[in-house]
Every structure is written in C-alpha cells, then in structure tokens.
Symmetry: C2
C-alpha cells in the first residue's frame, strides 16, 4: 500500500430536506451571493423557487449566472469571474449537476487570478488554489462527484480542448436525492456510467494490496449496477436515488484510490477528447470506451489478467476456472450492463467517425497522462481503442 493523505474539507449534508441548512451555510460567508445554474431544469422541479425564497427571506443580495452548459465553457467562467469581481461576491451558490459545480469552482478560483484570460488560468491551474470564493453546492444529478472533490473540467470549443484541473473544494454540499427524481432515464444511465468510470479508473492499478480502497470500489460498482436500473424504472424510488447519490460523492473523492498507484485516468483522458470534438454526454462516452479499453489492455498485457479476474468475480459476480475466459466474460458482462441501461454503445450511433482520431489520440496523450495507466497506452493504442468503439 502506498502513502496517502486524507482530508476532504467539504461539509456534506446528505438526505431529504437538507436544504434547511442552506441559509446558515451561506450566512457564514456573507450576503453577496452569485447563484449559478444550468438550463432551467432547477426551475421545472421547483428548486429554483425554493432556493430564491430562502435567499430572499435571508436578505441576501443575489446575482444570477444561468445557462451553464453540460460540458461547461470557458465563456461562462469568464462571465462568472466578471460578476464576482464587480459585485464583490462573498459566496457562490451552485445549483445543478457536475457542470454547474465544475464551472463554479473555476469561477471561485478565477476571481483571484491575476489577469483576465480565464483560459490561461485553466491551462495553468496546478492543484487546489490557496484562495477562492467560498462555494456552496446543491446537487441535482448523481454523476461527477464534483460535490465532494476539488476538481473540475472546463471546455474551450474554439480550440477543441477539455481540461480537467484541481480548483477548490465546496465548503458545503447539500445532497438531497429527491432533487434527482426528475432526471431522465438516459441521464440517469449516463451519470451512473460516470460514477462507475471514476471507480474503474483507480481500480485498475498496479497496487494489489489496498483492501479498503478495492473493497469500496467493488461495493460502489455493485451498488450502482443494482440501483441504476431501479431508478430508471421507478424515478422516484428514494432508496435507489440515495444510493446513487452517496456513491457518486465517494467515487470521485479519491477515497477509492487511497494507498494505490496513480493511473492518470485513461478513459477520462480519451473521453474528454470525444466531448471536446463532438460535445457528447460524458458518461455515454465513458461507457462506450471502457469495455474496449479493457479488452485492448488485456490483450496487450497478460499480467493484467489477475485484476480482471478479480473484477469478474467481485464486481460482476461471475465464476469459472479458466482465468483468461473469466477475465473476458467480466468485460462482456459490463458492456451488456451498459447496453441494458439504454446507452448507445457505439460511436457510430452518435454520428462519430474516425476523422479526428489521430489528433484526439495526440491530445489525450499530450500531458503524458497515459504512460502511467494500468497498462501504458501509446497514441497507436488509443487510436485502436477509438476504432473498436465504432
């Protein structure tokens, strides 16, 4: 087991009605609030009105930044920073899914950046910032885990770049599963695939003796595969939504990686290129890539077999004597599971062809990310994985 540090400063309020803590959470930072949200789904479910009532009755001065896109854009960050600086914002209240939260983290840090070029800020961001506008979040989608980590992903559609960076932890996150009752089957499946990918990125690592991290990983994968189909069928099943939400927070928190060798998250690196070029749903891209990535690395490096056998047994519930067969059967079962949740499992179905694969592979490998992966990936490997997804 490798050394690690464990500190997550976020105060997480989990469960029905936890919005009762909102006023007290905001008040501790000040009166000037920047309220950030996405395309208006929070209005449909009545959450916007509920939040505004609390803000108005609490005497807060509220400025709104809405329209934050699914793959949040650098333009929203720039606009948010402008507001924070002009209005002397004390606290950012982000209401939404991972995109709104990620964008708000970049705004929180960008406000104290010396300079106005926010893309430059994103490119150069290194680790958790020392200074940031305090951030309070209310989560409406179980997926990215942004409510309980310090990272965020920002896109620049002009340069076809999508960069993941560390910014700041939310000070407080309110996670009420009832706010996810209205999430569509498609987004539920995609969000669940994202949760699972966060786990699998760390699970497939060269460290074999970190029992707790591996056990948490296996538990979350089994729990997501149990509860996602229930949530799709019964959107207001509280228990299923609650399990997905608590899984999402832990999956991306770093906890399932404690004591394990870093991997550079290869599927995320490859998927960010898909989203950057084609603006597809992140979780869908991950679900398509993952089984193909698995088959590729298993074929490339037979020392990976043992861990895939563990995955087949402990996660997919399979058994068998022939380890090579069992390893592959686990991957097949994972692909079948994704299919069963309604995810289109080829890039072709999304209208993507091989036109940009070379430059995408180049970008994905640019930061030297994929040489640290469980099985190191060259550009040629990545192109082959993309092609297997067609």
């Amino acid at each position: 087991m490798l050394n690690y540090q464990r500190t997550i400063p976020t105060k997480l309020y989990f469960g029905k009605g936890q919005i009762s803590h909102l006023e007290e959470a905001l008040k501790s930072f000040g009166k000037n609030v920047l309220l950030t949200y996405g395309g208006g789904s929070i209005k449909k479910i009545g959450l916007y009105d509920e939040v505004m009532k609390i803000l108005n009755e609490g005497g807060f001065n509220v400025t709104e930044l809405s329209g934050i896109d699914p793959n949040p854009r650098i333009e929203s960050v720039t606009e948010g920073v402008r507001i924070c600086r002009e209005k002397d914002i004390d606290v950012i209240l982000a209401v939404g899914g991972g995109s709104t939260l990620d964008c708000s983290k970049a705004i929180a840090v960008g406000t104290y950046y010396e300079g106005d070029d926010m893309w430059e800020m994103v490119v150069n961001a290194e680790g958790i910032a020392e200074k940031a506008v305090p951030l309070v979040t209310i989560l409406t989608l179980s997926a990215t885990g942004s409510e309980y980590d310090g990272g965020g992903v920002i896109s620049n559609m002009n340069t076809n770049q999508k960069l993941g960076r560390s910014y700041t932890y939310p000070a407080v996150s309110i996670c009420d599963p009832t706010y996810t009752f209205s999430v569509s089957p498609y987004q539920t499946a995609a969000g669940s695939a994202d949760i699972m990918s966060h786990i699998m990125e760390d699970y497939f690592s060269r460290t074999d003796d970190s029992d707790l991290s591996d056990g948490i990983a296996e538990t979350i994968l089994r729990s997501v595969m149990k509860n996602c189909p229930i949530a799709i069928k019964e959107p207001d099943n509280y228990s299923a939504r609650a399990n997905l939400m608590t899984n999402s927070s832990i999956a991306c928190s770093g906890i399932p990686a404690y004591g394990k060798q870093e991997t550079g998250w290869p599927c995320h690196a490859m998927e960010h290129e898909l989203s950057a070029f084609y603006d597809i749903t992140h979780g869908v891209g991950l679900a398509i890539l993952t089984p193909r990535w698995m088959r590729h690395i298993l074929a490339k490096d037979s020392t990976a077999t043992g861990r895939f056998v563990k995955f087949a047994r402990n996660v997919m519930g399979l058994d068998g004597e022939d380890e090579a067969k069992l390893a592959l059967a686990g991957i097949d079962a994972l692909e079948e599971y994704f299919k069963s949740t309604g995810i289109p499992m080829t890039l072709t179905e999304l209208g993507i062809d091989e036109e940009h694969f070379e430059v995408m592979a180049d970008h994905a490998n640019e930061e030297g990310y994929l040489k640290d992966a469980y099985v190191a990936l060259t550009n040629e490997d990545i192109i082959q994985i993309y092609k297997a997804c067609l």
Copy 2:
C-alpha cells in the same frame, strides 16, 4: 437510507515516514507542546527519541505527561489539564495507542472546562466541544480509531465507571504502520477485534438499504480477518500492518454508519462494564462478548436472521440454503476466528465470575443505550449474555 452529515476535520498522513510532517503540523499551533504517552513502549521502538529530536530541533518547549494507562484514568486527565493551564500549552502531541489519544482528547477539552472536577467534565460532555487545545497524534496501535474520530473513553476506577464521550477531533494524525511492527501477537489480536467490533456495532442495524456503508463494513471485516493472522505471524509485514491501520481509522470514523439507524453500540456498552470492573483488555472483552450477543439476539428475534445470513455470506464467506443454520454458522465461524488469533474466549479464563453481573447490566443499560440496539436488550438479556461468556 437515513440522512447524515459527513465532515471529518482531521488531516490524516498515512504511511511510512510521514513523521516528516510533524514539525510543520505542530508549528502551525505554537511552540508550547504537551507530549503525552503511555508506559514507555514508544521508547523501546525509538519513536520517543525520533519525536524529541524533531521537537528539540524545532525549538519547541516540551512538557511531558507519561504513564497513561491502557484504560485511561481520570487522574491522567486532571494532571494533563493542570499542565495545559499552567504552561499555556498551544498543542498536545499524543504518541501512542487509543488510550493515550483518548486521554489527550479529554485533556484538550478539559483545559477549557469551567471548573477543576474533570470527572464532572467527562460525565457532562455532550458532543464535540467548541473549544479545545489542538491535538496532533502519532499512532502506534491499530485498534480504537481514535486517530480519526472525535470520541474517547475515560475510566474512573473509584466508581467503577468507564464512559465514552465525544470531545474533539485530532487536527492532524500521523499513521505510520511501521510503528506497529513491535505490537505483540496478543495486542494485535485484541486491537483487531476492537476494529471488527466497531464495524459490527453499526452493521447490525435496522437499515438495510445503505449499500456503501454495508459494503465498507464487509470489506473491513474481511480485510482484518485476512491481515491480522499475517501480522501475528510476520510482525513486520508492512502490507498487513498497513491494512490493519487504515481499517482501524475508517472503522470508528462513523463512515460505516452513514445513512444507517443508530444502535447505541451494545457490545461496547457491555464491555465497558467488564473493563471498568476488571480492567481487562478492551478488544478481548469485545471478542468474548460479540458471538454470545449475536446468538442471544438471533434467538430472541427471528427478524434478525436476514442480516446474519448476509453476514455469514458476505463476511464469513459461507453459503447454504437453510437460512437459520447459515446465520448460526456465521457466528460460529466468527468465534472460531477470534479463537485462532489466540484470544481467550471465556470470562472464566480471565478470572471473572458472575458476582457483579447484575450491577454491570444495570450500568450498561443506565443511559438507555441498549433499547436502541438492533435487538433491544433488557437487563435480564445482558445478564444472560454475560453468563454465556463464562
């Protein structure tokens, strides 16, 4: 799944050589350090010298409080508080196992208590204190989890009382598994039983749908049962010691209870009476009580069968069609495991008879603790469980 709040303010440095963070951790609080430790085992392993070198080179003013007993006494708390007040202590550095850490937490809070009667402070402590002397810990025994929670247990041998209370979280905990290489087989087994008990106290709860908490619990139990025998055979097996240590921190952190109904920790309540009357090793008392408690509640309430079946399958790795038999087989296997680690599995072997059982049962139930247990326990139940341990 029930509502919960997740915040653990402790910064945990895990792994070999993490003592390199000690000076910086202490310095942030001030120069006047109270160094607390137990019976001198930290001198035997060279840790005392290592710590003193860092303290001297860092220019700290050090006062020592040593001789803190395994079931730490109120007298040590009183003495520590006197020193903190007199010497204007900025930070307490606790080096040792759970007893030293627990005692130091009570000192940290007691320093700001209005009054000099520290037993009164203990009796009346309610929840994490608002003000406490900052606490830095260096752990030398994987057992109580005191390095990553806010609680502590203090004994008053004059009144035969042993009370668990919430005090304060360590600000920083340094968990280096190599410091546990010299822990004896007996103490390794007892400490491991303590870790397991923390898990089982929450695992047997009426909430059935908290997948993540249950999965973490099952993982920790399996990991402890795998690694404790290895650590007993090969005391300096780093991986085994590391797994025990990381399990110990999480087991008592509350995380395996998130979203679950509280149980009042019945085995701990019953064991505290054993320690209070007979000063036995806490983990040994727990190991003796647990299987007897399990059989008693399973016989008393058949609705408990389902969870015992889950325990038999997911923790003890058993299988079978007959659920009633399987439930019992899981308990038998747990008792066998404890025996195999060298724990004396009867109170008789410890020289304890039924003389005080009635008053002990009375104390254990005094705070209304055991009516919230997975299966509620009357005084008569508790006496029967004690008797089954003879």
